[in-house]
Symmetry: C3
Subunit: 334 residues, 3 copies
């Protein structure tokens, strides 16, 4: 595989078009903190498979459009070239492109918003990155979340949006029935994989598997942390009494997956203390998922990956010294 | 006109009372980023006319009280003299003074709050300015918004407030009917002017015209950006399907007017790239207006100029280098 | 008393266990900004008495557990030793430990959350402190508030939480009847003391008295500001028309008590200008209490001490120069 990668690196170095493709693939991979075209390719394959299998091809198209527009926007706005090259201005756009066709019918307004929104997500990326630079903390998927929240909220206000997939606005009410602890091993295994795939808003086991393979190609620890993060999230959700169907669909896991990869392998190098810290962060992410579900219920919008964003910011801000920092570049610095 | 200004500057230089009047007029003008007593005079005239024409003289009185108290507060709290002199501690107070009598009946509690609120808006101005100094970004009308939100929210909690003009708290629901695109040119022309006047919470065409004339006296580009910002906001609102009556009243335009002036002429010097960037910011402001309408619906309070504040912060934080920065002083630095 | 203190300081210096006890007592005292074991002892006595008198012994147990776990977490996470020694990593934990058994039934999930939550409150303490270090402002009780809000919100989402003491989620509605101004001197005197005791979520006059005695032992001005803050809050609430029963229970006073101590004696040395500034902050805290009551009503969670936190941040951020800063160490610097 390393040989294949080197060949690709040579080709991308010689050809403008291939370098551009390489940048876009890295943009897809950066959603899970990987600076790897190979990993990004598997992510795009996973999205394509999931979109086809679930009957929502618009999500795959939206992903491509968002990825291209978000990256282009960074060039137009004069973002530092090395950040663009690492894919740091593509990962928010691709998520915006996945999200909008998931929640809206495929109208002209929707596609204008995919383009405008992924462009805007790069403005937010530059703004949030500059804001957080003071503390040397990355923007995470915050720009995607803020951009999409703005558009989803606005959809309730304007008549030309075709809302198809948003929860009905309602006041919080505690569910009476607890989860039956998912005793079925197959159901659990599927829920773990769907938790990984839901990072891109897709509930599909094969997609989850393709994501894990892509991750493993870039970083084996990242792939293991992704799988374990999803499993830990299921256990936490079961302990707290989450809705069984939501867990089976991966909705309590996807943010936890990102927290586990981020704290466990991307921002710190894995060792025992880091693993315990990442575990605490992953458990917190599930509580935050529940808290944000409730906080957003009256507004009728989903949390997206904000539970992860808030977990990452809270757990990285203390900048704990006794844990050796990873030698990898710690993501955006725009 | 320049001569008249110079004569005024000489007089204000020689007389303590006139210098104080000059400072207050600049405070009114700073709502739209102008450091100009002439412009402020037209703003006060516009407010007076609008308040009289709409039958709400309390708004004009509130504006005066807020302007004086906010500026006095800065002196008492020891804010830097040059900031006070530019009117940077008057513009939040005047807006608080316009807002409270718009939403509350003219009771004793209301007027105590006008005084206390405009004093407090200067504390918030100092706090937000110090917070944002790290990124060299101004407080915008954030202090006015935060102060007024606190008081409006509190009004639902205490029995001695006389609420007259607040929206009923409700869960978000998408309107079924779209706007009929306002085909009438006269209606559109009036909506553009009302959009400008609503910056001070007044829906009156003559007031809008007086504001544009005052702006033109201080900066012709600012006046043009104000008019165009309002027009672009109407077009965006029509495309997205906004409520026709709200557009006719100027409620989707006033924040966009501020964004257009701010990004187009106050914080950057106008050139083609700046114009496109300001256009993007103005369009975003309309989406943010819709989003914040929805986000605040359950609480029953209006957005005030927060769509502008968030647009300005997001679009100024990236501190994009390839646009030549204006040589004008970029507003507060308290 | 000073002699007794010196004897204690010698003993704590010689014995690891006593030093640990001393640190914990200081943690309790830091809720009201005191670096004093003596004061912390009275606080614990007050909590014990209140919990016993009100029939909620779980609150006293939770306080102890939270205090120990929060402080231990700081050791494990490698926080600076001098901060730990001053009790700066105990005060959020003790409040989390008081809060959760107040709002939840005493189930296994509740006690797991007391432990996990007070541990997590120290992570938030380190995060918020690092964030705010840029402006030399302390975290106040923000980490307690954020941690507890997350858990309270999550409780509506998961079936295994036993909610017992949370307000029902509802849209804001203005009360029609004003407060009858509490004409009874005894009722007022009790309300002042309960306002002090509610800082630890306990409504008990004797507890309030014990807190005031403990404060006086550490700093007489602090004790006076606490009592006056509670009295000013009652007057403000009466003027604005607050609910009489809530005032009698101390619910409009506890945040104001903290603001008064903080602005009046902890972050500034008392003089006439400081007293006026603290008065303004205390009055604002009551308005903020009302505003946050409304803002959180749709979510069914209480404000906790956030009105104080926001007042402290807004009034300390301007860093007003003409007031001589206290020579005392201005609290956390982690």
């Amino acid at each position: 595989m390393t040989e294949r990668k080197n060949a690709w690196a040579r080709m991308a170095g010689n050809c403008h078009f291939l370098r551009w493709v390489d940048t876009l693939l890295r943009g897809a991979a950066q959603v899970m903190f990987q600076d790897s075209a190979w990993c990004g390719l598997f992510f795009l394959l996973g999205i394509a498979w999931g979109a086809w299998a679930e009957g929502i091809p618009e999500v795959a198209l939206g992903a491509l459009v968002g990825l291209v527009v978000g990256t282009l926007a960074a060039c137009i706005l004069g973002a530092p070239g090395e950040d663009i090259r690492k894919g740091l201005h593509g990962y928010n756009g691709i998520l915006v492109g996945c999200a909008l066709p998931t929640f809206f019918g495929s109208t002209a307004v929707c596609w204008v918003l995919v383009v405008a929104g992924s462009f805007f997500s790069t403005v937010v990326m530059l703004a949030v990155s500059r804001f957080l630079r003071t503390w040397k903390v990355s923007a995470m998927t915050g720009p995607f979340v803020f951009t999409t929240w703005f558009i989803l909220l606005a959809s309730y206000n304007f008549a030309h949006f075709k809302i198809t997939g948003l929860p009905h606005p309602s006041l919080p009410a505690q569910p009476s029935e607890a989860m039956a602890m998912l005793p079925d091993v197959e159901v659990l295994a599927r829920a773990v994989l769907k938790g990984v795939s839901q990072v891109f808003l897709i509930g599909n086991e094969v997609t989850g598997l393709l994501f894990l393979v892509g991750l493993a190609g870039a970083s084996l620890p990242a792939s293991i942390f992704a799988w374990c993060g999803s499993a830990v999230a299921i256990a936490t959700a079961a302990f707290l009494g989450a809705d069984e169907r939501a867990v089976a669909e991966g909705l309590y896991q996807f943010s936890a997956v990102l927290t586990a990869i981020g704290l466990g392998s991307a921002f710190y190098s894995p060792n025992w203390r880091v693993i315990l810290y990442a575990l605490l962060g992953t458990v917190f992410t599930v509580v935050a998922q529940g808290a944000l579900n409730v906080a957003l219920a009256p507004l009728g919008i989903p949390t997206l990956t904000f539970p992860f964003v808030i977990a990452a910011w809270l757990f990285l801000l203390p900048n704990i010294q006794f844990m050796p920092e990873s030698h990898r570049t710690p993501s955006p610095s725009a």
